[in-house]
């Protein structure tokens, strides 16, 4: 799994951090998403997919490749 984030779209909601704190964080000053792990392990996949699904800015893209 490969994860990318679009900082320009991110509205700093932090929904992703609430769901998958091992993969996403937020910058302290403006709350914009910080990708901690762009190729997270299988234990994180479900949480990352859910984060992408509920991100209100459609800023997280997940590509499912081996």
């Amino acid at each position: 799994m490969k994860v990318t984030v679009d900082e320009d779209k991110c509205c700093g909601a932090g929904q992703c951090v609430l769901i998958a704190p091992e993969v996403f964080d937020q910058r302290d000053d403006d709350g914009i998403v910080v990708l901690l792990d762009s190729a997270p392990g299988p234990d994180q996949h479900a949480l990352v997919r859910e984060s992408a699904a509920v991100c209100p800015a459609a800023a997280i893209e997940v590509t499912e490749e081996a």
Binding site: C11, G12, A13, G14, Q15, V17, L18, I19, P21, Q26, R27, D28, D30, G31, R49, E50, A53, V54, C55, P56, A57, A58
Partner: protein, 413 residues
């Protein structure tokens, strides 16, 4: 067009997944429901119907980046063509649902087609309210869809004076964007501060000061009687006292109503939106999601209908789970954000006007703070003003986790 076996039984107790799902409204809530169904392993037929003949797009940028011109409209697309193709859904665009028959769960469209299915999901969002006198006047606008945003932008770039009616989130955002384009902006609203209904007077007051500093003329506590025009073109608005504010462009941002007119007479419970139970079910096999849905929030012990982007996608997860047999109430912590000038305001929970407000971090004078809303000794809302991360941390500390089935969040104390 019959796809499954006759379903006269209660679809809610139907064993196994449905054979087909038709979703009416293919925007944030409808599309997210479709994606969530697939993500949860649903492999049956999926149809998405939308009145608009456009690939699904996102609305929050319409009053911000699209209206200001910072983004090409295509940037507001919700998903790329590949992602839509991967959904393996039938996208019926440019076709409007005009009625629903509860008995066989079928939707009739404006082409005369009848779409019958095991499960129907209603996700038709809102229709904006217009002001008396505005219909048919050039230069008089509402803002809900992309066409609205592009038409308003076309008018704003050549206008000098704009009157925005409505002191809620949408009106305030449009005023901020129009100031950014250099226009002379007057905002007229019934409330005594901006966003008083959404955020209360304390934070509303800070926002009102910000707009004043940025040069917006505010006419608060003031009602508009009608939009006035001259030769088919808007010329301003008339206030209830008779005064006329002249303008080249008028934007009505005076609220929206659930787009449920097509459901009238169907027998579905319609109040302030499609009324559902705590599991987002309006009738056997029929669900409602997003801005148009009024569901029973068990945590709050009352009905709630939210008009925000996060709810559209969160409720979509709950509806998809319910369709596939889960039996859990939908009890989210509401969340919305708004961007105005350099202020990014984020509201978690229910920051209602009646609550006590205290500043937990930062300082409103620095335009960087977190406010905590308390009612009856309980924290009911957390609001961040240019402090997103701190607000989110306080939300985690004070407000219930968004979904109990998630693993416990690490403590932030």
């Amino acid at each position: 067009m019959r796809a499954g076996p006759q379903q006269d039984d209660d679809a809610g107790t139907r064993p196994g997944p449905p054979s087909g799902v038709t979703i009416v409204g293919a925007s944030a809530a409808g599309l997210s429901t479709a994606e969530a169904l697939r993500r949860r392993g649903y492999q049956g037929r999926l149809r998405l119907l939308d009145a608009e003949d456009r690939l699904p797009y996102d609305r929050p940028p319409l009053s911000k980046q699209v209206l200001s011109g910072a983004w090409e409209p295509s940037r507001a697309r919700l998903r790329g063509p590949d992602q839509l193709a991967a959904l393996n859904a039938e996208l019926l665009l440019g076709e409007r649902a005009v009625s629903l028959d509860l008995r066989n769960r079928s939707v009739t469209t404006d082409t005369g087609r009848s779409l019958e299915d095991d499960v129907l999901v209603l996700a038709t969002g809102l229709a904006p309210v217009v002001l008396p006198g505005q219909d048919g006047l050039a230069g008089a606008h509402v803002l809900r869809g992309l066409d609205h945003a592009l038409a308003l932008r076309r008018d704003l770039v050549t206008a000098a004076r704009v009157v925005v009616v409505g002191e809620g989130v949408l009106g305030a955002e449009i005023a901020a964007t129009a100031r950014g384009l250099g226009l002379d902006v007057t905002l007229v609203g019934l409330g005594h501060t901006l966003l008083a209904d959404q955020l209360g007077g304390t934070v509303g007051g800070v926002l009102t000061d910000l707009h004043t500093e940025r040069g917006v003329r505010l006419r608060l506590g003031t009602a508009v009687e009608s939009v006035v025009g001259d030769g088919g073109r808007v010329s301003g608005v008339r206030l209830t006292g008779g005064e006329v504010l002249s303008a080249d462009v008028v934007v009505a941002a005076v609220g929206s109503r659930p787009a449920t007119a097509w459901l009238e007479g169907s027998g579905l419970p319609l109040g302030d939106g499609v009324e559902t139970d705590a599991r987002c079910r309006a009738a056997p096999g029929i669900y409602a999601v997003g801005d148009a849905a009024s569901w029973f929030h068990e945590g709050l012990g009352r009905r709630l209908r939210l008009e925000n982007r996060t709810n559209a996608v969160e409720q979509a997860q709950a509806v998809a789970a319910a369709i596939l047999g889960a039996d859990r109430p939908f009890t989210p912590v509401p969340y919305f954000w708004t961007d105005q000038y350099d202020a990014r305001i984020q509201a978690h929970g229910m920051p209602s006007p009646g609550a006590q407000v205290s500043i937990a971090e930062g300082d409103p004078a620095d335009r960087r703070f977190v406010a905590v809303y308390t009612e009856g000794g309980r924290v009911t809302g957390v609001l961040g003003w240019n402090m997103p991360k701190q607000a989110r941390l306080l939300r985690q500390e004070h407000l219930a986790p968004p979904d109990a089935r998630r693993p416990p969040q690490p403590s932030v104390r």
